[in-house]
């Protein structure tokens, strides 16, 4: 059970959140996105070992979507922020 820091609410238990997908997947532009762009966005995901940017919905809290940089091997959460934020790499 993770502990996730919502940038709006603070540290909260994982059970307040719902996983909302890969934060690295880029939505094609509605006007200009091609069929191939959409195909990749809808169906293709990387499954990297190590650091991963994820979206979580604070569904039982402020209901904002947040970005979480998590090591999927250790479950360490390096940084969190708004979806458009660039997060710390954790290398200090």
């Amino acid at each position: 059970m993770l502990e996730i820091t919502c940038p709006y609410c603070g540290k909260r238990a994982q059970k307040e959140f719902t996983y909302a997908g890969d934060a690295g997947a880029e939505r094609p532009n509605l006007e200009t996105g091609t069929n191939q762009d959409w195909f990749e966005f809808v169906y293709l995901r990387d499954n990297p070992r190590g650091l991963h940017d994820e979206l979580w919905h604070h569904s039982a809290g402020c209901r904002r979507l947040i970005k979480v940089r998590r090591d999927v091997v250790t479950h360490e959460i390096i940084d969190t922020g708004a979806p458009s934020d660039s997060l710390s790499t954790g290398a200090s």
């Binding site: 939505r27 094609p28 509605l30 069929n35 209901r63 979507l65 479950h75």
Partner: protein
């Protein structure tokens, strides 16, 4: 008072002024307050307490605490009955009732014991090998196996007790309240940190409870009492007794299981039986102690054979004697003090049989002072006796630890084993810490931490009391400092010295030929022998995880606490490799079993999920309406009268609505308030149709696609004001649609200035439908409801019977209809007013079932059609799709596979005989007699008997269906076996031109 023949008149931590009566296997005994069921049975001289799992061998107590492998009992009776409880974990209370398990008809005469005679037939893997084929008989085999190899019985009555969960944050959590844990709590407590100290037993003290140490000039238990009093006086320290740290999870979440009322006959004053604590700790100190290991030799499972530390604890803490004459069999020095304790308690110690070559001075002194003979370089090769041990055979060993030379038999009724100590690294390992193997201790100990924890004392291999006290004090201080507090280690008291544990290893004592046939048990609970481990090796199950599953080693409720290391070592011997090469199995949560009720907590019965009811729920109930669960909602299905079935009522109601007028509760529809200057842009991006020209005060039907181009949901968009809209969703999709819209705004289009708010619960809804609906409504309002004032798809804010409402001229039924939204607490007023005002028009309430009939007749789609596999065009929304703007799903919806002419399209079906009901879920095929596989052309999604048409109808999704109206097909249900001949029709059965709803 009944005689307790194996109880000393004085001594121990029991209250002899408080006798307690209890029943075991129907026989009444007495014990004392402070006893466990195990210690009380021992004091009464009851030695045969269980039958083993597979061979039904007679068994007695093997341990003192959580490590007990043999004596699992069925505790309590009736609804509170619980199976598989170790007797060592049961605190005695007045009137306790326990029964032995896995025997029939009785412990002393157990028919299953024939398994023991046939044991050659039950090698490891026996069940897998024998019951593999044919697979269809497996349910029968399983039943039979469960009966033979069964443990206790689950209660069949509902649990009358309650369970609860508690959530806490703390700075330092200390798991285990022995000497190390207590010192850690003192150190951390004095820093001001918020400390939780938990211990699984009724009292703190850990190993001090069962030994005769001195600390600061006092006895162990006295020092413990002083220390606990000191801790209790600290406001920042929380002491949890009877509380097991059961699971260590990510981000330092530790789950504790507090047995609040297990030590009572029934919980008192509404207290829960268990309380589960979810503790998020900044830092953790693990002080979970260690468990003694047995030694493996022939028939080492006889009643009376037990761990040395167990016999010692029963004697010291309860004045209970394991027997009259003991033989101690050890491979290390820790057994000597225990032997002296047993002797002091009045047990004649016949000999200490010590595997080691040469002994050190301290233990020799202990033996000499207690006048106990020592046989060093000797082993016990076999125990003798059936329902109780009566002697052992002892032999010398040579330098290769092979038994050689003359065997001697020693009479005894207790055999105490000490094969070294296994640190309890379960929590450490659950936290994903890495173990290493300590050759000196012959034990796995914590190596690298993974989370914010540290181990102290015996659980990391520091077995001496002095080391435990020091390590605990240091660990507590370190944890507090790491949590941000300034402190130093608490003062460590002086204590008595104890032995250094350096076992000499011989993992399974070879049985000399003349004693062949004895079983050398490694895992008592699962009846796994050294020979079984050898067989697993021979058959190729050599990895530790295979060994476990093939032999069931370590798979019992005791999780192999006493058997794992011995089993691994024996396997390592076969593999001729080091134990580290074999490794350990994964330690999993929980440390000890947690009842299912405690896991569920308050999430039982109606509390598993919230139940949402509409403001009119009680009215529906009073009218006798059954309810259909829809997501979390309960929706009224209809109002049967005069002995009608629900379906008859639905038919009557649906017919009545088309002919006259009815009202229905539509409060459950999802409603989202959309506000902001970019609201129109937002709506244009999420719906397939355009809202740019939607005027204030108008409604428009809208359809949303998913990112993959398939239909997600439908609903009505109403423009309430310049930059304010309300959209509705289907009841079941409401929360998913809200989640998705929030995602789009937050993640993909953060530049849009739009705010969303779910207002489902803020506005209740009543729909009034039927040709007389305007007439009825007009009676309750001064507002102009004419077609010019409120046309079809119009919107108005008016008063109904004095209640301000939102009025939407929309229709799900296809009739002239309005939907009224109002404050929930005004709903009943409006509902009653409508029923009263409509009396002359014969107004009726109608339910979900009639609503469903009306919408099928009208060809409106719901869940069965919005099934995540249909396209907008396939459902008949093709003309709505805007070509002028971009929207979610537009590009993927144009993929070739979704735009072919032969994909699923919505059609109507009518049985050609106009009588036979069309089974829901039926497949549409051309010819059921064709060679299989028969091509499936479509499926029936909704069906009903249409009261307005007088025959059954259905909606279906049919390949290229729109061009096939008039065709005849077969609707075949593989579930009911029915085949109905149907004609394909337009899905809109009633008023296809929509004249009625514009009326």
């Amino acid at each position: 008072m009944s005689h307790q023949p194996f109880r000393n008149p004085t001594g121990g931590n029991i209250d002899r002024s408080q006798p307690l009566t209890f029943t075991f296997d129907g026989k009444v005994y007495q014990g004392y307050s402070g006893d466990t069921l195990a210690s009380a049975l021992m004091a009464n001289g009851v030695k045969l307490l269980a039958r083993s799992f597979k061979y039904h061998r007679p068994r007695g107590l093997s341990g003192y605490g959580v490590e007990e492998s043999n004596v699992l009992v069925q505790l309590r009776t009736g609804a509170r009955s619980e199976p598989n409880i170790p007797a060592t974990r049961v605190e005695l209370y007045e009137g306790l009732v326990a029964e032995s398990q896995n025997r029939w008809p009785s412990l002393h005469f157990d028919i299953g014991a024939v398994n023991s005679k046939l044991s050659g037939l039950f090698p490891s893997g026996f069940y897998y090998k024998t019951f593999m084929w044919p697979a269809k008989f497996w349910p029968f085999y399983e039943h039979a196996i469960r009966h033979i190899a069964g443990m206790g019985k689950s209660p069949t009555l509902e649990d009358p007790d309650s369970y609860t969960h508690n959530y806490r944050h703390c700075d330092v959590l200390i798991a285990g309240g022995g000497p190390a844990g207590l010192m850690a709590a003192l150190s951390a407590g004095q820093s001001g940190a918020r400390v939780i100290l938990c211990d699984e037993n009724a009292d703190f003290g850990g190993m001090l409870r069962g030994r005769r140490d001195t600390i600061r000039g006092k006895s162990g238990p006295e020092w413990v009492a002083d220390t606990v009093a000191q801790l209790a006086a600290m406001e920042n320290v929380r002491l949890l007794r009877r509380t097991t740290a059961a699971g260590y999870y990510d981000h330092n979440l530790i789950v504790l299981d507090e047995r609040v009322a297990d030590h009572k006959a029934t919980p008192e004053n509404h207290e829960p039986r268990h309380r589960i604590w979810h503790v998020r700790a900044k830092e953790v100190v693990l002080a979970t102690g260690s468990i003694e290991r047995p030694l493996v030799f022939a028939d080492n499972d006889r009643p009376g054979v037990m761990l040395t530390s167990a016999a010692q604890a029963y004697a010291n803490a309860h004045g209970a004697l394991a027997g009259r004459r003991a033989v101690i069999f050890t491979n290390n020095a820790s057994a000597y003090a225990a032997a002296a304790d047993l002797k002091a308690a009045g047990i004649e110690v016949q000999a200490i049989v010590d595997l080691r070559d040469s002994l050190e001075t301290p233990e020799l002194e202990i033996a000499a002072n207690a006048n106990i003979g020592v046989l060093n370089r000797h082993v016990v090769v076999a125990a003798h006796g059936a329902k109780s041990v009566h002697s052992v055979t002892v032999m010398p060993v040579d330098s290769n630890t092979t038994p050689v030379g003359e065997a001697q038999e020693i009479l005894c009724d207790v055999v105490c084993l000490s094969g070294g100590w296994t640190p309890s690294v379960h929590l450490f390992s659950q936290s994903r810490g890495k173990l290493c193997y300590d050759e000196t201790l012959s034990a796995f100990v914590p190596d690298k931490s993974f989370q914010r924890e540290r181990s102290a004392g015996a659980c990391q291999g520091a077995f001496q009391l002095d080391a435990c006290l020091h390590e605990g004090a240091k660990a507590g201080a370190q944890a507090a400092v790491a949590a941000g507090f300034a402190t130093t280690a608490a003062d460590v008291p002086r204590c008595s010295a104890d032995a250094v544990v350096k076992p000499r290893l011989l993992w399974a004592i070879p049985t000399p030929d003349h004693l062949h046939g004895g079983k050398q048990f490694v895992d008592l609970q699962n009846d796994v022998t050294a020979a079984d481990v050898g067989l697993a090796y021979q058959e190729g199950y050599r990895s530790v995880e295979h060994l476990k599953r093939y032999t069931t080693l370590g798979m019992g409720t005791d999780q192999g606490r006493t058997s794992n290391v011995n089993g691994l070592a024996i396997m390592a011997g076969h593999r001729a490799e080091a134990i580290t090469a074999v490794g350990t199995t994964t330690f999993r949560q929980p440390f000890t079993p947690i009842p299912m009720g405690a896991v569920a907590g308050l999430n039982a019965h109606d509390h598993v999920a919230p139940v949402r009811t509409t403001p009119l729920h009680h009215w529906h109930e009073s009218m006798g309406s059954p309810f259909a669960p829809t997501g979390q909602w309960l929706r009224p299905q209809g109002y049967p009268k005069d002995g009608e079935t629900l379906e008859q009522a639905a038919m009557r109601e649906a017919k009545h609505v088309r002919e006259k007028v009815g009202i229905v509760d539509v409060s459950t529809l999802g409603k989202i308030d959309v506000q902001g200057p970019d609201a129109i842009e937002f709506l244009n991006r999420v719906y397939i149709n355009s809202f740019s020209n939607l005027a204030v005060g108008k409604c428009r039907y809208g359809v949303m696609l998913r990112e993959d181009g398939l239909v997600d949901d439908d609903g009505v968009v109403t423009r309430l004001a310049e930059n304010r809209y309300m959209i509705t969703t289907t009841t079941t999709h409401a929360s998913a649609v809200m989640n998705r819209l929030e995602y789009l705004l937050d993640v993909d289009w953060p530049s849009l200035n739009v705010h969303l708010l779910s207002v489902t619960d803020d506005w209740s809804g009543i729909a009034i439908a039927g040709p007389h609906s305007r007439t009825v409504l007009t009676k309750l309002t001064a507002a102009d409801l004419s077609n010019s004032a409120v046309p079809f798809m119009g919107y108005a804010e008016i008063d109904v019977d004095g209640v301000p409402v939102r009025l939407f001229r929309i229709s799900f039924s296809g009739e002239l209809a309005y939907e009224i939204n109002m404050a929930p607490n005004a709903t009943r007023t409006v509902w009653d007013a409508l029923l009263k005002a409509g009396a002359n028009q014969e107004i009726i309430p109608y339910g979900l079932e009639a609503m469903n009939v009306l919408r099928i007749e009208k060809g409106h789609v719901v869940g069965g059609e919005l099934n995540g596999r249909t396209t907008a065009d396939g459902l008949g929304f093709g003309k709505m799709i805007s070509t002028k703007k971009a929207f979610v799903g537009k590009v993927p919806a144009r993929r070739a596979g979704l735009t072919r002419d032969d994909i699923h399209q919505l059609v109507g079906l009518v049985p050609t005989d106009e009588k036979t009901r069309i089974p829901r879920g039926a497949q549409l095929i051309a010819d059921p007699k064709a060679t299989k596989p028969v091509a499936m052309q479509g499926e029936v999604t909704s069906q009903c008997m249409s009261p307005n048409l007088g025959h059954p109808i259905a909606l279906a999704l049919l390949n290229g269906g729109r061009a096939r109206h008039g065709e005849t097909l077969k609707a075949h249900s593989p579930i009911t076996g029915q085949t109905v001949t149907v004609t394909v029709t337009n899905p809109i059965f009633i008023d296809p031109q929509g004249e009625r709803l514009r009326g």
